[in-house]
Amino acid sequence: MSDDLVPPAEFRILLTLVDGPKHGHAIRAEVLERTGGRVDLGPGTLYGAIKRLARRGWIREIGAPAGEEGDGRRRFYRLTEPGRQAARSEVARLTELLATARAKSLKPSGEA
């Protein structure tokens, strides 16, 4: 696995953290909502991805933000600067791929 490639599940998690820190359950909920229920990260998949993101230094575990401490056991994650950089370069990579596909008039499946 090369360092500049971000697997889809991990990229999705990075994106949910762009607006601010979240805990695991909220990450899963946002992914579920944004994909219309298509992508449901199981606990093992979710935390496996979180572990790898943390190891790369792209996210960091933090204490509960103010106003969210309700449940002391919840663990929150925030995007780090390298994480934001990685997300940006992934967006650049995908944009370029998308542009190529459009240039060849390839339409997504489901559209005529």
Partner: protein, 876 residues
């Protein structure tokens, strides 16, 4: 429940990941389960959680491996793997022993779990078979009950009934009596299976006066009609005395498994006429129900338990307290295998005992080996290997062995299944036993369990070692006293475990022996059986049929060499039981009690002699007594004599076939020993052997006992029958011995399997004990040799070892006794005809293993004492 299970499943994850995220995972899973609520959604969430773990566990372990390889660090798990393989290559004997032991354990367990799966868990080949249930009482429903249940039970979508009857089929071959199922017209709708050809029954087929129709089984269609599709719509000669022909309306598919037995030849509709007497009083059906989609089998079971007392109010004579108490709805899969449940459970437990003994052996061997590798492990410790690393290395070693064991075990299981299929097909369920990918998964899962069970203790042991002590002690990290104590403890533990395992196997083996050991009550000898039918055209009435059998018997007896011959309406163990209600003389029934029931056999003189039954009391009616005008003399079995006239002689007592005493009065002339008529399980039922002339049967089975070669006899018997009537068929020629063997085969097979499992346990137990004890002595060989070299008396050296062995054996025997008591209690539920503590089994097991223990100590000690001193000094 489910969250706890999930937490347990998390143990499969790599420890590092689990420590960091395990709690979060469990929390998340619990939250999702809470959200889902109950029922189907909860099951869906559980399935998704399971799949998620199934993906995550390998991925996280892969991650650990990749990280380990990246970080170098003298290698993570990869290095452990290399270390394990190197170590095993250096001691191939140890590796081979462990792999074989685990392989045996895993192989035996895989087959047993597969059998249990096929018998107890696999659903039957009907659409949504899990929504089908057999209703209480499991037999004897009347049409009225069927209608009451349909309106009274709300959890069912449909209730169908079927009973059995016999008809003569006279098409495409010799006339033959066949088993025909009388079914309510909705049977196939409820089962969810429809004819492959033609149509199923419609409600009007069961109306009074409807033209008689029949649906053929695929087998009869192929055998008698050459698979001709044109048979649909044809009127065929299928019926009883004076009964009309039937018009074929359909043919069932080949893969339909009839709930009423695989031998069924055709289905005819049950006539429902609410104005007829039989509507209320003819109890002849078994009921099967299909559940509504929102009802569970448990719900239906509760509903029918609540409904039963209402039935009792409607018909207190039939719905007695006992019947109401037994009210239940049994899932069809469980119902159809109820006879096999007990033996399969015993076999399953036996296999798990084998696996446990194998694991215990391996644990002891690995621990003993770890102790023996003191020096090597000390060096590892000195080079900086921490406790956890050492424990992990030992764990990896066991895991490698367990995986190899799984391969061997899977191979053994495959071989065993092939042997079962070719040699013991009768032991397998009707729907067969096939190895599929789930078996591979099972073997691997068992090996993981085995690795965990066998590797845990050695790994913990390795983790406990103290590196500082290892450095200080140089050659031996453990003090000598500790090593000796540990070794002796291990040997004693091994002996105790093996003894308990062997004793448990003795109990299980004797249970299976009891399950399979049935006295058939007849002497098979060289008796030959066959079936024949009095041709309806030549012998139209019952008096004619009676004459046919009288003549046929005389013709058979005239064949040179024939000693005894007789006919019966049915042979032992040939299935398709019918029950009649009887009123034995002197029986006073409290109001509301049902009349006693008994099975009936219609016999000619000579039958009971030809069968070789044992006469207990009285006499068997002779041909002279069996004439019209004479009183009808009946022979009853021991069960009937005991049940109907306890503490009295049965001879001379009268029996009425119905409570209204309308039929012929039967007088008991003799009592014979119980003949196994139905199968190997269950209590013996009362039975009557009634003279055939009372109610002549068109198709009968002959039993002939003769001198000389049976093969040359058969053609002469055939021509004897044909001399009476050229049109009389002779079919199903078989020896009585093969009929008995066929009927008793499943139980015998299981007994053979259990004996094999017992031998394997015995082998594992003795080998393990020998290995562990002798390994302990072998460690001291150098010491013994040195002392012998220094002039110590050899006899006393050996004696010293033997008293050490006594200590081990005594401790082991004490432990074994306690363990055997505990395992016996645990097994109590699956034992038959033997108590949880069987002194003979336990004593034999303890005695045997004590002997093995002594031998294992004596042989190496003697060898050591005889070693040349120079050899020893040089090695030093």
């Amino acid at each position: 429940m489910a969250p706890t299970l999930y937490r347990l499943a998390l143990l499969l994850l790599p420890p590092g990941f689990r420590r960091q995220y395990g709690a979060a995972l469990a929390e998340e899973a619990a939250a999702r389960l809470r959200e889902a609520g109950g029922g189907r959604r909860r099951i869906a969430v559980l399935a998704r959680l399971g799949t998620d773990l199934g993906v995550s566990v390998p991925r996280e372990w892969g991650d650990v491996l990749v990280q380990g390889a990246k970080n170098g660090l003298g290698g993570g798990t990869m290095a452990d793997l290399k270390w394990a393989l190197r170590g095993l290559r250096r001691s191939p004997g140890f590796a081979l022993a462990v792999v074989l032991m685990l392989g045996l354990g895993i192989g035996v367990s895989t087959v047993a779990v597969g059998l249990a799966d096929a018998y107890l868990l696999k659903s039957l080949p009907y659409p949504d078979a899990d929504r089908l249930a057999v209703l209480w009482p499991t037999e004897n429903w009347s049409n009225e009950m069927m209608d009451l249940a349909r309106s009274g039970l709300h959890d069912v979508r449909g209730i169908a009934g079927r009973g059995g009857t016999r008809m003569i089929l006279d098409e495409g071959g010799e006339p033959e009596e066949v088993f025909v199922a009388a079914a309510t017209t909705n049977l196939f709708d409820v089962m969810g299976v429809h004819p492959a050809l033609g149509r199923g029954f419609v409600a009007s087929d069961g109306a009074p006066g409807a033209p008689p129709v029949a649906i053929l089984s695929h087998r009869v269609w192929a055998e008698r009609f050459g698979s001709d599709p044109g048979v649909v719509g044809r009127s065929i000669a299928l019926g009883g005395d004076g009964a009309p022909r039937h018009t074929v309306i359909g043919v069932m598919p080949a893969d339909y498994l009839p709930v009423e037995g695989t031998g069924v030849a055709a289905w005819v509709p049950v006539n429902v006429d609410p104005t007829a007497n039989s509507y209320k009083s003819s109890y002849f059906m078994t009921a099967v129900a299909r559940l509504k989609s929102d009802a569970s089998p448990g719900q239906l079971d509760r509903e029918i338990k609540a409904w039963a007392p209402r039935m009792s109010e409607a018909d207190p004579g039939w719905f007695t307290k006992e019947r109401v108490r037994d009210a239940s709805a049994v899932p069809i899969g469980r119902w159809s295998t109820q006879g096999e449940r007990a033996p399969v459970l015993v076999a399953l437990v036996a296999a798990l005992v084998v696996l446990l003994v194998a694991c215990a052996n391996v644990t002891n061997l690995v621990v003993a080996r770890t102790v023996g590798r003191e020096r090597e492990l000390s060096v590892r410790a000195a080079l900086g290997a921490g406790r956890v690393r050492t424990a992990r290395a030992v764990g990896v070693e066991v895991a490698v062995l367990a995986l190899l064991g799984a391969v061997v075990g899977f191979g053994l299981a495959g071989g065993a299944v092939r042997v079962l299929e070719t040699r013991f097909a009768g032991a397998l369920p009707d729907w067969g036993l096939s190895m599929d990918t789930r078996w591979v998964a099972m073997a691997v899962a068992l090996s993981v369990v085995a690795a965990l069970a066998a590797g845990l203790i050695p790994a913990l042991q390795a983790a406990r070692r103290d590196p500082a002590a290892a450095m200080a002690a140089g050659r031996g990290a453990l003090t000598r006293r500790r090593v000796t104590r540990l070794q002796e403890g291990l040997s004693a533990a091994q002996l105790a475990l093996a003894a308990a395992g062997v004793a448990a196997m003795g109990l299980l083996g004797r249970s299976l022996e009891h399950l399979g050991d049935v006295d058939p009550g007849v002497h098979a000898g060289s008796a030959i059986t066959f079936r024949t039918t009095a041709p309806p055209d030549a012998y139209p009435g019952s008096a004619d049929v009676e004459r046919f059998y009288r003549d046929a018997r005389a013709a058979l007896l005239a064949v040179p060499g024939v000693d005894v011959a007789g006919f019966s309406s049915r042979l032992p163990l040939s299935g398709g039981e019918s029950e009649i209600t009887v009123d034995p003389e002197g029986t006073v029934l409290p109001p509301g009690t049902p009349w006693p029931v008994a099975w009936d056999r219609w016999v000619t003189p000579g039958y009971l002699d030809a069968l070789g039954t044992h006469l207990v009391e009285g006499h068997v009616p002779t041909a002279d007594e069996d004439r019209d005008g004479e009183p009808a003399l009946v022979v009853v079995n021991r069960a009937a004599a005991y049940r109907f006239w306890p503490g009295q002689s049965a001879i001379g007592k009268r029996v009425y076939r119905d409570s209204d005493h309308k039929g012929v009065t039967l007088t008991v002339a003799g009592v014979v020993d119980d003949v196994i008529e139905e199968g190997q399980t269950g209590p013996m039922l009362p039975g009557l052997y009634i003279p055939e002339r009372v109610d002549p049967h068109r198709t009968m089975c002959a039993v002939v006992r003769a001198k000389g070669d049976p093969a040359s006899l058969v053609p002469r018997l055939e021509s004897a029958i044909h001399s009476v009537s050229a049109g009389a068929p002779v079919s199903r020629v078989e020896t009585l011995a093969s009929i008995l063997a066929g009927g008793l085969r499943p139980a015998r097979t299981l007994a053979i399997l259990a004996a094999l499992a017992g031998v394997v346990t015995l082998l594992l137990g003795t080998l393990g004990t020998y290995a562990v004890v002798s390994q302990g002595v072998a460690r001291r060989i150098r010491e013994i040799g040195v002392r012998a070299a220094l002039g110590a008396d050899r006899g006393r050296l050996v004696h010293g070892e033997m008293s050490r062995a006594t200590r081990i054996v005594v401790a082991g025997l004490a432990g074994g006794l306690v363990l055997a008591g505990v395992t016996g209690r645990l097994l109590e539920g699956v034992l038959y005809g033997v108590g949880p503590f069987d002194p003979a089994s336990v004593a034999a097991a303890l005695g045997l293993l004590a002997g093995v223990g002594y031998l294992a100590a004596y042989l190496p000690a003697r060898r050591a004492a005889r070693v040349d001193p120079v050899e020893v000094m040089r090695a030093e």
